[in-house]
Each structure stands twice: as C-alpha cells, then as structure tokens.
C-alpha cells in the first residue's frame, strides 16, 4: 500500500462499533459486509452480524423495495447482538439513505455515494430535493464521496467495461472503511483474487477499487481521524467466524462422523435454508450424499428411506416446507427411525417474508402433525451454537430412534459470529449399534421390543439376515410390530411413544441470577438469546436484579423447568411470534407467564428489549 499521508493523528480507541452497509440489491452490500466481517474476525474482534435483504433477486433498481443492508457489530469484548443502531451508515444511493437514516443516531457518521444522488434516483424514493442539500442531515457527520466516479476513474487504465468498473464501487467503500478502522487489507485482496480466479481482470478491478478507497481515506483530510477496535480477549481457544447455516452443516457432518454413519441429506431449495444444502453438497469427501429432491415431501421421504437403510438421514427446510413434510414426520414417529428435520424459520404464514426472521413455527414443530405424534424439538441460540445443537439433535435421534426437529431461524442462518472451534475428540461419541441378531423368544425378531432405558426400538437395517421385518404407518402391535387395531394396544403404543420422548435425557435449565434473589426471570429460546442477554446486561448495569435462562430443548423441556418458573415472581418470555413458548409453558405448568413479542421480521434490539423489560423489573423492585 501507499505510505500514509495523514500520519498526524493517532487512532482513537473505540470499544465497539456498529457499521451498516446499505445499497441497492445489485450493489453487493452482503458481500461487502461479509468481507468486513471476515477482516474483523481475522483481527480477533468479537462480532455479530445482521444481513437484511429483499426476497426479490433484483428488485427494481434504486427503489426502497430493492434496498439491501448488512449490519456488523464488532468489539474488543464479548458482544451479544448485531447492534441496535449503527455508528456508521454507508448509503450507496438515495433509497438506501431513506430506508436507513432513521436508525442513525445524532452524531453518527454517514458516508454517501454522491454520484447516485441524481434527480431521477431522488425522485424514485420521493425526495423532492436532495437531502444532501437541505438541513435534514445536519445531526450527522456526513462524508460526501463520489464513489462511483472515483472508482471508474481509477479503473480506467484497466480498460474494463463501464458496468464492471461501476460494479466495483462496493470495494471502494470497503477500502475506505478498512482505512477508517485500521483493518488489515491482505486478506481481502487474497480473497478477491480467489473469488474471481476465473476472471483475473475483474479480480484486479476489485483489488484496485479496494485500494483506491483505502488510499482515498488516507489522503483525504476529512478522514484524518481513524479508529481502533482492539481484538477481543475471549476465553482461551481457537476461533473462527462462522454463519449459522455453515455451523449447522458442519455439525451434521461432525455428528455423522462421530456416529460412524454416512450422512444423507434430502432437501428442496428454500430460503433461508438452501445454504445448508449448498454447504453439504461441497462436503462429499466426508461421505456426505446430498439429494436435491423434486419437492419437500420427497426430500424428507428420501431422508427417511436412507435412515431406514442405516444412514444419518437429514432434511432441511423452512416453514412452508415443514408444513408439507408433516405427514412424513408422522411416519418417522410411527416407524421410530432416527431422522433430523431442520426448519430455518422465516416470517410467515404462507410464503410470508422469506428473507426475514421469525420464531413462529414453534407450535407447528411441537404439535403440527395428525394424531399424538410427539417429536423432540431443539433450537440453537446463535450462529455458532447451531453446531452444538446439530450434534445434540443427532444424539437424540440416534439414541432414541426418533425424528428430531431443529428450529433455527433467518437471523441465525445468515448471521455470523466467532466460534470457538471444538476438537473432534471433545465431541460426544454417537456410535450406534444396528440390531444383528433376533431378540425374541424362539429366535424371532421383535422390531418393536424396546430398550428398557431409552424405550428405543432396534434399528435393523435391510441386509441383516434373520431380521427381515415390515414397518409402516399403520398402528403397530407392541413388540412384534404387526398391524394391530386392538384398542388396548393402540392406547399402550400412543403412551409408549410419548413416554419415550418425555424420557429423553436433557440437561437442566441453567439460570443466570448473579444476585441470587432476582424477582424477575427472563426466559428465551432460539435466536432471542443475544438480545435478551444484551438487554439483561443493561438492566443489571442500571441496578436491577434480573435473572435469565435460555431453553435449548423445547421438547422435552428440562426436568427443572417448572421449579425454575415457580421460583420467580415474574417470568417474562420475549419471542418473535405472538407468544408461542409462553402459551406452551402456561398450558404445561399452569404458571403465569408474561409475553413480550415482536413480529417485524427483525430481531429485538437490545435497547428496545431492555425498555420492554424495564416495567417488570421496576414494578418488582418497588414491591420487593
């Protein structure tokens, strides 16, 4: 890189920064955000991200509907959320400004690409005059940068087309931000050359745009001040940055390896779950088979067929797909075969909000089948946690011979954070034994005889001599597995299947209650863990006594759940639905639960949630 022209000022320290890149869906904002995230990770910051993009692949250019953004929170200490409001907003066009400026607090830094502020683009989003020319942006520190023309001018010597040159402006923005926050640059240059290996001229254009943005920061008076966010000192270990979908895919691969089974994924593309299919389809070297089915039902059908044959069968989907898979999940319940069903939840009902997050499939996961069809349900609390939860879901499926529903969501799937990478040997041993010999009297095989501990039935895979047997969706006679319409048998089998799921070993619910006498417990599940943690931190800093706990296992609930709920005067459950966990807990234990809900397609903000929780803690503080 060129030598620093503005060496005068030492970088100012910041303990945390939130940056939001916003532009048109065609502007490459997700990629820009991903890259900055990778640089923050490689620098050792703690971080959390929130991509937010439209469902349309290319929404009309320059419109509000087409705005795509990526928010990144990075810090020198452990953080829990992608941040509520950005400290820095990069707006690549008027639409991005209009859609996001409301979130920028006074004093925030705003960087705009002035080239895009043309009368036509302004008119598209209803700006009568340019906000750059009136007083509306006065509360902010505004940097007007002609990013597009600076980029195209710099790239002129390369002789590439105007379109391609303009398309590199996101790398200019990234270079400028890299300068401002003292980020290393080699990683991004290496990554660009890798990514565009097949089109070296494009790679060079992007590298040059990135360097141009960086140099612009160095040489421009307005950017004389740079900031430094030191690496975060997390617990000892080796870390990497990981997204939820990737962590989940890796968890499945690791689980199959620890079980000594081939992994078989049957899946149909659906947002926001498809990246798990993409990731696993690149991991064939680990003995992974991926089958892109003709529909959602075939995806789970094939996974169940593979499970019957002795593989770790998995199907991945989102809400609408889970609806379609219901009947096949019921078959897996009846045939008592191990199967993982991953639902990466998105906004619903129906097609809903494909690219936004929500937690409204909980009751569908718990109850959404005909008949009494109990299924264990687990949920990761963050992108990195998706790895552990995938392994745990496999443990339950393989140990208890049951389908397991794993509820991720859009915020976890696309968000990313540092992950302390486990050693393979530290992962649980999931070895399974297939049935090899008859287990009944007179050398008969009883496919529905149960393990007295787990109530699991034997997994007898085709190809095993002497164990030929038939399974299916009709009610099974206890032990023999023959078809049975006997009233007493049905009663027994329904209760046995329920007892098996109820008896699944799950760890007790851990409560974080530093003072030990908090009157209020905040209980969450899934991706609300981050916002709840951050909100509770704020309340404690403000002097309130408040406890928190987080459920990974929704079915069965940890054995101490009821006792925990009863030991607090007030229990508040924040969730991104209309109160589904609250409903479940009240129905199950008849305890009062306060429900705080949000269904905006976006996670709770930490400040927002802290404000929502404040009345509970202040009320209790007064009465306590």
């Amino acid at each position: 890189m060129a030598t620093t022209v503005n060496p005068g000022t030492a970088p100012q320290r910041r303990d945390r920064v939130v940056i939001r890149f916003a532009g048109d869906s065609g502007d490459g904002m997700q990629l820009t955000g991903d890259r900055f995230t990778a640089e923050a990770a490689a620098f050792g910051n703690d971080l959390a991200t929130l991509p937010n993009f439209p469902a349309e692949i290319r929404a009309p250019h320059g419109t509000l509907a087409g705005v795509s953004s990526f928010q990144l929170h990075f810090a020198d200490h452990d953080i829990l959320t992608p941040g509520d409001r950005p400290d820095v907003l990069v707006a690549m066009n008027p639409a991005a400004l209009k859609a996001n400026v409301g979130d920028l607090p006074a004093g925030g830094v705003l960087i705009v690409d002035t080239d895009e502020f043309t009368p036509r683009n302004l008119a598209k989003v209803g700006y009568a005059t340019s906000p750059l020319d009136d007083a509306s942006l006065e509360p902010f520190t505004v940097h007007e940068v002609a990013m597009t023309s600076l980029t195209t001018a710099a790239l002129e010597p390369l002789g590439i087309g105007k379109k391609d040159a303009e398309r590199s402006k996101n790398m200019f923005a990234l270079g400028l931000l890299a300068w401002m926050y003292g980020r290393p640059t080699e990683g991004t240059e290496r990554w660009l050359r890798d990514r565009f290996a097949r089109r070296p001229e494009i790679a060079e254009a992007n590298v040059l745009a990135f360097r141009t943005g960086h140099a612009y920061g160095e040489t421009t008076e307005a950017f004389a001040v740079t900031f430094e966010v030191a690496p975060a000192v997390l617990p000892d270990g080796t870390y990497r940055q990981v997204s939820g979908n990737t962590a989940l895919a890796y968890g499945l691969v690791a689980a199959a390896r620890r079980a000594g089974l081939p992994l078989f994924l049957g899946s149909y593309p659906i947002t926001p779950a498809s990246d798990i299919l993409h990731e696993l389809s690149r991991l064939k070297r680990f003995g992974v088979t991926t089958f892109q089915a003709e529909d959602e039902i075939a995806g789970i059908g094939a996974a169940l067929g593979a499970a019957y044959g002795g593989a770790l069968g998995v199907t991945t989907t989102s809400g609408p797909g889970l609806s379609l898979k219901s009947e096949a999940v019921g078959l897996a319940v009846m045939t008592e075969l191990p199967l993982l069903v991953v639902d990466v939840q998105r906004g619903g009902p129906s097609t809903g909000l494909p690219t936004k997050t929500e937690q409204a499939d909980l009751l569908q996961a718990v109850f959404g089948r005909n008949g009494e069809a109990p299924v264990p349900v687990v949920a990761p609390s963050s992108p990195a946690d998706a790895f552990d939860v995938a392994v745990d879901a496999a443990r339950i499926a393989l140990t208890y011979r049951t389908p397991v529903l794993l509820l991720s969501d859009g915020a976890i799937a696309n968000g990313s954070e540092p992950w302390r990478v486990p050693e393979e040997d530290d992962l649980p041993d999931l070895t399974v034994e297939f049935a090899a010999a008859p287990n009944g009297p007179d050398g008969r095989f009883l496919p529905y005889a149960r393990d007295p501990e787990t109530l699991a039935r034997p997994w007898a895979v085709p190809g095993t001599p002497g164990l030929e047997h038939r399974i299916g969706g009709l009610e099974k006679a206890d032990e023999t597995g023959d078809i049975s319409y006997e009233p007493a048998n049905h009663e027994r089998m329904v209760r046995l299947r329920q007892a098996k799921v109820d008896g699944i070993a799950v760890p007790d619910l851990e409560v974080d209650d530093p003072t030990g006498d908090a009157p209020v417990l905040v209980l969450g599940w899934g991706s609300t863990a981050g916002p709840i943690g951050a909100a509770v931190r704020r309340l404690r800093t403000a002097g309130h006594r408040v406890a928190r706990a987080h459920l990974r296992h929704l079915v069965p609930l940890p054995g101490n759940t009821e006792a925990v709920l009863r030991s607090y005067r007030t229990v508040v459950v924040p969730e991104m639905n209309l109160g589904q966990l609250a409903f479940l807990l009240q129905g199950r234990f008849a305890v009062p639960v306060e429900s705080e809900t949000k269904v905006a397609g976006l996670p709770f903000g930490a400040a927002e949630l802290a404000a929502r929780l404040t009345p509970y803690v202040t009320k209790e503080q007064v009465t306590a």
């Binding site: 691969v253 067929g305 190809g463 038939r470």
Partner: protein, 360 residues
C-alpha cells in the same frame, strides 16, 4: 446426465449379494394373514411374486419392498423380506433414498393407480427420469378400492362411481405413456392372472439397472368387477391382447391372425393375411417412438392392450452416478474434519493474548 464415467454396464442385481442356495416361494412368505377381498387380483400377483423372487437368486434379506397407501400397498406385509408400508404416494421418494444409500439392495416399489398417478404422480415421474435403480409394480385396477369405490386417474371417461354419480368427466392417464414421457428406461405391462407373462416381465424389470415400471392390470371384484374381462375372455382377447417380444414381429390372435402395422406416426392393426410380411412391425424395445405408438394403441376402452416389455434401454442411473461422485471425493482422501472446522482464517486466544492470521 450423459457423462460417461467409464463405469461397466451393470445389471440391476449385480451389486446385490447372491443367495447361498436355492430358495422357494415359501421362503418369501411371511406369517401375516393376507387380508384382501376374496377374488381380488392382488392374490394372483402375490403368488407370482413369491414364486419369481427365488428365481433372482439374491439374498432375501437384501430385498426390500416399499409401498404407499391403497389395497395393493399392503403387499410388503405378506413377503418375508424387509419392507416399509409408507404414506400415500411417497414410496418412490423413500425408495430413492434407500436405493441411493444402499447399492446392495434390490428395491421394489408397490403402488396403485391412485397412489402412483394421483397423489404420488410427482414422485413417480421424477424417479423414472432420474433412473434410480428400483422396480416399480403399479397395480392398476382403475378404481379407488381402499376408500371404497371412487374413480381413479385411470378410470375411463363416463365411469359411474360413488363420487361420479353422473359419470366421470376426467380424462384418464395411460401409465405406460406417462412413464415413457417421463424418460423411463424400462416400461412393461402384464395381467394379474397371467402368471407366466407377469413373471417374465417382472424378472426382466428386476434385472434392469435403473427405474423399471411394470403396470399390472388388476381386477377389483368389489368396486370395479370385470374391468379387464374383455382381455381375459378368450373370444374377446383374441383380437385385443397384443404381446410384444424384442426382435419379433408383432402378431397376435390364434396363429398370429392379426398384425401390427405402421400408419403414419401411429400403429394400426390389420389381418396378417392382408399384410406383406415386411410391413409387420418388428418390436424393438430400444425404439422410443415405437414404444409410444404401442402405448397409444392401448385405448381406454381396451380395444387393444399391449403387454410385455415395451421399452428397455441402458442409461446411467442417478444412484450410481451420485455414489460415484461421493466415492471419488472420499478417495481423494481430504476429509480432515479439523481443517474443515478451523477454516482458512482461524485465530487463537491464549492467556489473554490474541494471535490472528494477520499477526502471523
């Protein structure tokens, strides 16, 4: 996919372990009581299957029957092999997962006209186009039996049933034409009561590598009695039943009285005596156009019905290619889980000191 992976042309059973010794129909008979209605055509098919399976000389435990829902889908319970009686229409999907992950199994799908062509139509056509190694027995009784007598997607127009008191206005599928359209590499047809013909087609289907569809005309005496009688009564059958054999001229009736001849892109039937021998169609199971024309010769009124192996060609199978990709990747030997999990830019924290890739 037409990539030539240089794989040997396999038979349908070549990866399935061979039986230790001779087997009998009794070996394939389970202890379950058969519960079809008296006189149901399914009995004849069950008997034929029990006696043809031993002729494959493969291990019984490596044989799997997967069925959907319907009268015929009870089939797996009556065979002492592995079996799964699954959910309505989904058997081909379940069998696909099983066949892809277990090349050592001979996988059969048992389905009916409602199961395969209505609720499960999507899975059937995709299994056929993928050419997954499985043998599909489609029992066609042209009625819904298990739900007590509604018209099915193969019922003829005008059929009066419980759900069509004024006659069906629905145009039927021809399963053979549908399978051909879906790109099936093996399509055959047989009659439930024709033990010899049925066994021959089933055996060819089981030995075929890829998806093999066998349509079996099956009588449902309870809800659609005598629906195929015109093909059974010798007098009627004489001018209707056409059995094709690869490489042989297509003639039928007593002493080959009738011959199949070309009319434009279609086929027609003429008295053999009035046709020059070179004008009699010679069956070629690899000729896609001929197979489709033969299918069209079978009308919904059963004026003619073609039996035998209508089409059989070799094409790479989905499961073989899928396994080859996985195997090749596995053999590349680069399955380091630790390296995968660590990724390209890990950093470490030790005693409060952060060491990053950048620092290294």
């Amino acid at each position: 996919m037409t990539t030539d992976l240089g794989m040997p042309a396999l038979g349908g059973l070549d990866l399935v372990p061979a039986a230790d010794g001779p087997q009998k129909a009794k070996d394939y008979t389970s202890d379950q009581e058969v519960r079809w209605c008296p006189g149901c055509g399914d009995y004849a098919v069950l008997a034929a299957v029990r006696s043809f399976l031993p002729t494959l000389s493969i291990r019984r435990e490596n044989t799997v029957f997967v069925s959907g829902i319907g009268c015929s889908s009870r089939f797996p319970y009556y065979l002492d092999t592995y079996g799964m009686h699954s959910i309505h229409g989904r058997a081909p999907a379940i069998a696909t997962g099983l066949a892809v992950s277990r090349p050592d199994l001979s996988v059969f799908v048992v389905t009916g006209d409602g199961d395969a062509l209505s609720i499960g139509g999507n899975h059937l056509i995709h299994a056929l186009r993928r050419n997954v190694n499985m043998t599909i027995l489609l029992f066609n009784n042209r009625i819904y039996g298990l739900t007590k007598g509604q018209y099915s997607p193969t019922s003829e127009v005008g059929k009066v049933t419980k759900s069509t008191p004024l006659g069906s206005v629905d145009h039927p599928f021809d399963p053979v034409a549908l399978a051909l359209g879906a790109g099936a590499t093996f399509v055959g047809r047989a009659m439930d009561s024709d033990r010899k013909g049925l066994s021959a087609v089933l055996e060819a289907a089981a030995r075929h590598r890829g998806s093999a569809l066998v349509e079996i005309y099956q009588d449902c005496p309870i809800f659609n009695d005598g629906s195929f009688d015109v093909l059974r009564r010798p007098d009627d059958a004489e001018s209707r039943v056409i059995t094709v054999r690869h490489g042989e001229p297509v003639t039928f009736g007593t002493d080959g009285r009738w011959a199949v001849v070309r009319r434009g892109f279609d086929l027609d039937v003429a008295p053999t005596a009035e046709v020059a021998p070179e004008d009699v169609v010679v069956h070629d199971a690899t000729d896609a156009g001929l197979a489709y024309a033969l299918a069209r010769l079978t009308g919904q009124d059963l004026g003619h019905a073609v039996f035998g192996v209508l089409r059989q060609v070799q094409r790479s199978t989905y499961d073989d290619l899928s396994r080859a990709q996985v195997q090749q990747a596995v053999e590349s030997g680069d399955a380091d889980l630790g390296a995968l999990l660590h990724g390209s830019d890990p950093w470490t924290v030790r005693d409060g000191v952060v060491t990053t890739a950048a620092a290294r």
